[in-house]
């Protein structure tokens, strides 16, 4: 493939992880401008680590949509979206905005919420939203940052396939480059230019989406290889156990 643009980011044999713990050893990859990349892999393969590293390296160019959204349940949808541009206002304006929403941001965010389909929820605390509504709020916050690049850690995990498509096209409309972690394999092939596949801390797949089939993607997931036998030795639980203690 001819290199038309200088890459936005090129990693060559870099160890990524948290503190002393290396999650992705000797990783090499290249991110080119204008590319839409789907990041696939089983839970715990290192997707979040990779995205956090990209965010740290790309700095101010990045609109960031973290896993589990990072929303503040006690604040309204409006305030949560406003937080995307907290750094661009003075402290005084930010504090006053908590008392009474500023005129200009309110108008802009109202427009954005209209597109996301949550216009009537702007004043509702995020703690009282459904999963899908929270997801859209989190995407709204990332869109409101108005950056060139979008990094999303499972931003469309808890919405239906049609909504997922609509949200992805909203993201595309505003960003020329994006890296999005997701679990929907069909979506990865139909909607993205390139697929990165992680397994056990290694990048085992890095190819244009149109050269791949669903079977190639299945190879990333260990549980997909063999039919699950219930009497097998205990496997590590992939889903969190139901939490019986009241979480705040």
């Amino acid at each position: 493939m001819p290199e038309r643009h200088a890459p936005l980011l090129a990693l060559e044999g870099i160890d990524l992880g948290h503190g002393d713990q290396v999650v992705l050893p000797r990783l090499s990859l290249t991110l080119r401008p204008g590319e839409r990349v789907a990041l696939l892999g089983p839970s715990g393969a290192g997707k979040s680590t990779l995205l956090a590293a990209l965010r740290a390296r790309l700095g101010d160019d990045v609109a960031w949509c973290p896993q589990h959204h990072g929303l503040v349940p006690g604040l309204a949808v409006y305030h949560n979206i406003y937080m995307g541009r907290l750094a661009e206002h003075s402290a005084l304006a930010n504090l006053w905005n908590l008392v009474r929403p500023l005129r200009e941001p309110w108008r802009e965010i109202a427009e954005l919420c209209e597109q996301l389909g949550i216009a009537e929820l702007m004043r509702r605390p995020v703690g009282r939203l459904s999963g899908g509504q929270r997801q859209r709020t989190a995407i709204g916050r990332a869109l409101y940052q108005r950056r060139r690049l979008f990094l999303g850690d499972e931003p469309v995990a808890s919405v239906d396939p049609h909504q997922a498509l609509r949200l992805l096209s909203l993201i595309d409309a505003q960003h020329d480059t994006c890296v999005i972690a997701l679990h929907q394999r069909e979506l990865a092939l139909s909607h993205f230019d390139r697929v990165w596949g992680l397994r056990d801390g290694r990048l085992v797949l890095d190819a244009p989406a149109d050269e791949l089939s669903l079977d190639d993607l299945d190879a990333l997931y260990p549980d997909a290889e063999t039919p699950v036998r219930s009497d097998q030795q205990e496997t590590p639980a992939t889903r969190p156990l139901p939490c019986y203690r009241g979480r705040v």
Partner: protein, 505 residues
């Protein structure tokens, strides 16, 4: 298929590293220690006829003499006003300290000291300077509460999830970050804790009557002491009604009205004599030989102090017995109040009993038992175990109600032993350790009723105007509390999480 493997050896009693046996070993050690030291405690019943006295008290409670209570509304209003303004002042003083708490060792030590001295001792101290006035009452609540708020607020703020803060774009200032993420994330717990502390403030405000401030407790103590049980019954009911109706009258919208109304009740304010205050702070509370640099004199001064070892021993022993007693009371009582056991009537009755026991301050319970059983360690022990045990049982029962057993249709014993206790016991133990500090603090004030703990000598020395010795004993008490708190934090099982809603006692 395991064909040739021998079955693993059957574990012996309470061995193994699983959480269950470990916590059980821990508990049994604690109980064994208490049993071992039990012979050292003076648990004799001294009065001849406790049952007649008890019958008279029950009669008083059953037929309260409402007409005999003198100006009940003023006493009630003052009780609320002191609690509300004391708590508010505590918040105002404590919140800034909470922000410094993690960073400054000095602040942490200072707050530990403020917390370690009970409200009533602070009241005794301020009584010498401000007299029987609202200022004494407010300071007695606000100062220890500032220390408590600082610690608890700091812990709550520290436990807010990190994710929202990490999601912020780079370059956001500290203040804005706090206002947009930490504060709204922590707000529900901060508000809940402040509300809980206000309820504690109400109890403490009543207790201030025991040192002579004209709150509800003053009339209560007089009525009990003079054997007018029908009047005491009326006052006690008044107090229970006050606590029980708290959710209605302490609504957020009503608070400003209460605050302003209360402020009018708080007067008259004392005219603070600056010279007198200065003399008290700079001279009265210090040993004279120390001020004069007279070292041999200081040694003589030290010999005048009552023998500390038995007092400290009694304080610690009562603290240990109170803690173990609370554990047993809580273990026995919580199932009765939870929705998993019994029928509607038994649940309602035991819930009522728990609310009654946890609403009554220990000092009051101890006072009643003292009238029944005579002056020994027994009334104090009963009071500590019943009050704190009921409090823990109440919270654990509420926690249990929020759980759904994974297997339906288990017999009650199976439900208790396999479904509920394994999930609840770590929290129960955590609560107990948390409470141990409070129990020790209260052990000291029970001395004011004549149990020979440190509090007995503090009270005595304040009465004889020996401020230097009283203050020295207060320092000893504070040091003891801080040491025990550190010890209990060291030995508390790490797996016991403090996450039952509303349990940050």
């Amino acid at each position: 298929m395991s064909s040739s493997a021998t079955p693993p050896a059957r574990p012996r009693w309470l061995t193994g590293n699983a959480l269950g046996p470990r916590l059980a070993r821990h508990t049994l050690t604690l109980v064994a220690l208490a049993l071992l030291l039990l012979p050292l405690a003076d648990l004799s019943v001294i009065t001849r006829e406790p049952w007649t006295e008890l019958a008279r008290m029950v009669q008083g409670l059953a037929w309260p003499a409402w007409g005999a209570v003198e100006s009940p509304f003023h006493a009630l209003g003052l009780t609320i006003a002191v609690a509300l303004w004391g708590t508010l002042a505590g918040v105002v003083l404590g919140f800034p300290l909470a922000l410094l708490f993690a960073r400054s060792r000095l602040v942490r030590a200072g707050c530990a000291f403020l917390r370690a001295i009970h409200e009533l001792f602070w009241a005794l101290l301020f009584l010498q300077v401000f007299g029987l006035s609202a200022l004494t009452a407010l300071a007695a609540l606000a100062i220890p509460y500032a220390g408590i708020f600082a610690k608890v607020y700091a812990e709550i703020l520290e436990q807010t999830p990190r994710a929202p803060g990490d999601a912020l774009p780079p370059g956001v200032g500290r203040l804005v970050r706090f206002a947009y993420t930490e504060l709204p994330l922590a707000w529900p717990r901060l508000a809940a804790y402040t509300r809980y502390r206000f309820e504690c403030g109400l109890r403490a405000s009543v207790l201030l009557g025991f040192v002579g401030l004209p709150t509800l407790g003053f009339q209560l103590e007089t009525a009990f002491r003079e054997g007018r049980y029908h009047e005491a019954g009326a006052l006690l009911w008044l107090f229970y009604l006050l606590i029980a109706s708290l959710p209605w009258w302490s609504h957020r919208r009503l608070l400003p009205v209460l605050a302003i109304g209360g402020a009018l009740l708080l007067g008259p304010w004392p005219s603070v004599d600056g010279a007198l205050l200065w003399r008290f702070v700079s001279q009265d509370i210090w040993p004279r030989p120390l001020l004069e640099g007279d070292w041999p004199g200081l040694v003589t001064w030290l010999t005048r102090i009552p023998d500390l070892a038995p007092a400290i021993g009694n304080t610690l022993l009562l603290g240990l017995l109170g803690t173990v007693g609370s554990l047993l009371v809580a273990l026995v009582m919580w199932p009765w109040a939870s929705r998993h056991f019994g029928n509607r009537v038994s649940r309602l009755a035991s819930k009522g009993l728990l609310v009654l026991l946890r609403s009554t301050p220990e000092l009051m319970l101890a006072f009643i038992f003292l009238l029944l059983l005579g002056p020994s360690m027994l009334p104090a022990w009963l009071a500590l175990a019943l009050h704190n045990g009921a409090l823990i049982a109440f919270l654990i029962a509420r926690h249990a109600d929020s759980l759904t057993p994974g297997m339906a249709n288990l017999p009650a014993s199976g439900r208790l032993a396999y479904e509920l206790l394994p999930r609840l016991y770590p929290s129960l133990l955590a609560l107990l350790y948390y409470r141990a500090e409070v129990i020790l603090r209260e052990t000291a004030i029970l001395g004011m009723l004549g149990v020979a703990t440190l509090g007995y000598y503090i009270d005595e020395n304040f009465q004889y105007l020996m401020f230097d010795i009283a203050c020295f004993l207060l320092l000893v008490t504070a040091a003891l509390n801080i040491a025990v708190d550190a010890l209990s934090r060291r030995f508390r099982p790490k797996e016991a999480p403090l996450d039952v809603p509303g349990m940050d006692a």
